[in-house]
Amino acid sequence: MATDSEMVFVLPGDGIDASLIPTHPKRPLRLGPGLRHIPPSTIVPTIAGQLVTDHKKNSLWVEYNGGRYIPAVGDLVIGQVDRSAADFYYVALSDYSSNASLPQLAFEMATKKTRPNLATGALVYARVSLANRHMDPELECVNSSTGKADGLGPLVGGMLYSISLGMARRLLMRKSVEEGRVVVLEELGALGLAFETAVGRNGKMWVNSEDTKTVLIVGRAVKETDEGNLTVDQQKKLVRKLVKEMS
């Protein structure tokens, strides 16, 4: 996380203080999104946001909210099937951008005869397997080393909500409560609502439940948290209000 609880914000073109750059005896320095390396040793931010460093991994990146989703290898995304061709599904990751391709055999247990049949407009939860700058990204719904789905695959039923990229990142953090400061989902679960969610790094969240009302409550709670940039206490209050309103 950030250096000693003090947040560092950068603007494009700012100089980065040498003391902020992590030094690791063995690992090479890794630059994440929003930073550019100008040889020999200058690092310049290309976007405004919070500078985050990870000393263990010897990496450095800029955390920002907004903009268009740019695929990166390993990201979990929710895509919408645009059309299907002989061997591929063409999947839209965000509106008005070029499609990603998803091989029809990249599903768990899929063979030429048993591949899933996805109609136009169906949703899939997938991992980005290839992302180069000037090429359309490629997706997969199966772990290629184990052959297991790991929870990826077509999403049936439920509702899709658009959220900001920053919110999606916060929800996907390993410790979303401590680091991301989002408690809505935990609070809703604690109040006895049963639902399942899938969060795509491309700013999409899928919510499913037996009960329509539960889906609506979850969707509204997350969207309002996102749009209002609510604090933990405000989120708790919002959840109580929504549950009371809908029951």
Binding site: Q80, A92, D95, Y96, A119, G121, A122, L123, L155, V156, G157, G158, M159, L160, W206, T212, K213, V215, L216, G219, R220, L242, E245, M246
Partner: protein, 293 residues
């Protein structure tokens, strides 16, 4: 040409299920508008309408021109709409979509053909000089229900607008600058406003007002009713889509009347607030050259 992004199958199915259970996605009632905000600019004739995430700006301008030869006593009144790529990537410059054409035609029918603005009062010298009033409508952000928001913006801007004062002495026409004489409002006859209803279900049995973009994309048909607060209907447009019961149309009309009354009250109140803000020290009445008849 960019295509509008279609909602997914999951969204379609869930949305209809929720409607059948009596819920809207944002928790509103079926006949409830989103948060509506109306602001006037520093200049006369600028109105900025925010309806949820939809935002529309209307600007009125006036110039003196030659009238059309077949209508020598009528001023010229035009409304131009522009859906720029700023509002949604599906819009392109200089290539009007069907939606844009429908929007400008409906505004035309609602405001112009209902004679809300008395065009004869815009005549200065018959056959030679008339005022040409032009309304430019810009859609700044598109999240559904452009029709109602645009109509409110156009009407509000026109009612807020003041044109320069003029006088005729013999053969000479004088147009006064705002410093010489306080500009005068347009001669406005009634306030028509649009209310759009969207229908859902196989036979259009569910009706929503003030739809968001997603709701709008999933409708089976829609109907726009324009009327003023006295209940005088200017136009009804139901362009294609699933046929709808006569009974539900009548219901829509009565809801529309109630909504228009609310909107008119809001508009009157905002106009009054704005004129109070401008009229510091109550000097405006003295500056005006109009005599109180």
């Amino acid at each position: 040409m960019p295509r509008e992004a279609e909602p997914s199958l999951n969204e379609k199915a869930f949305f209809l299920q929720a409607l059948q259970d009596g819920h809207r996605l944002d928790g509103r009632k079926f006949e409830q508008f989103r948060q509506l905000d109306l602001q006037f600019g520093d200049q006369y004739g600028v109105a900025d309408v925010t309806l949820g995430k939809t935002r529309v700006l209307a600007k009125v301008s006036a110039e003196v021109t030659v009238p059309y030869p077949d209508r020598p006593f009528d001023g010229i009144f035009t409304i131009t709409t522009e859906l720029s790529p700023m509002a949604s990537p599906a819009f392109e410059v200089n290539r009007p979509t069907e939606q844009e054409v429908l929007l400008s035609r409906l505004l035309e029918k609602t405001v112009r053909r209902s004679n809300a603005l008395d065009t004869e009062s815009l005549c200065l010298i018959a056959g030679q000089k008339v005022w040409s009033i032009r309304v430019d409508l810009h859609v700044l952000s598109h999240d559904g229900n452009l029709m109602d928001a645009s109509c409110l913006a156009v009407v509000a801007a026109l009612r807020h607008f003041r044109k320069p004062d003029t006088s005729m002495e013999g053969e000479t026409l004088t147009i006064y600058t705002p410093a010489e004489r306080e500009p005068v409002p347009l001669s406005w006859l009634h306030t028509p406003l649009c209310i759009t209803f969207s229908f859902y279900g196989d036979e259009g049995e569910m009706t929503l007002v003030d739809t968001t973009l997603l709701e709008e994309q999933l409708k089976v048909s829609s109907c726009t009713i324009s009327l003023n607060k006295h209940g005088e209907i200017c136009q009804v447009a139901k362009l294609g889509g699933t046929p709808v019961d006569a009974v539900s149309l009548v219901q829509c009309a009565s809801i529309a009347l109630q909504k228009v009354k609310e909107l008119s009250t809001l508009l009157d109140q905002k106009l009054a607030e704005d004129s109070k803000r401008r009229n510091k020290g109550g000097l405006l009445a003295e500056l005006s050259a109009e005599n109180a008849r």
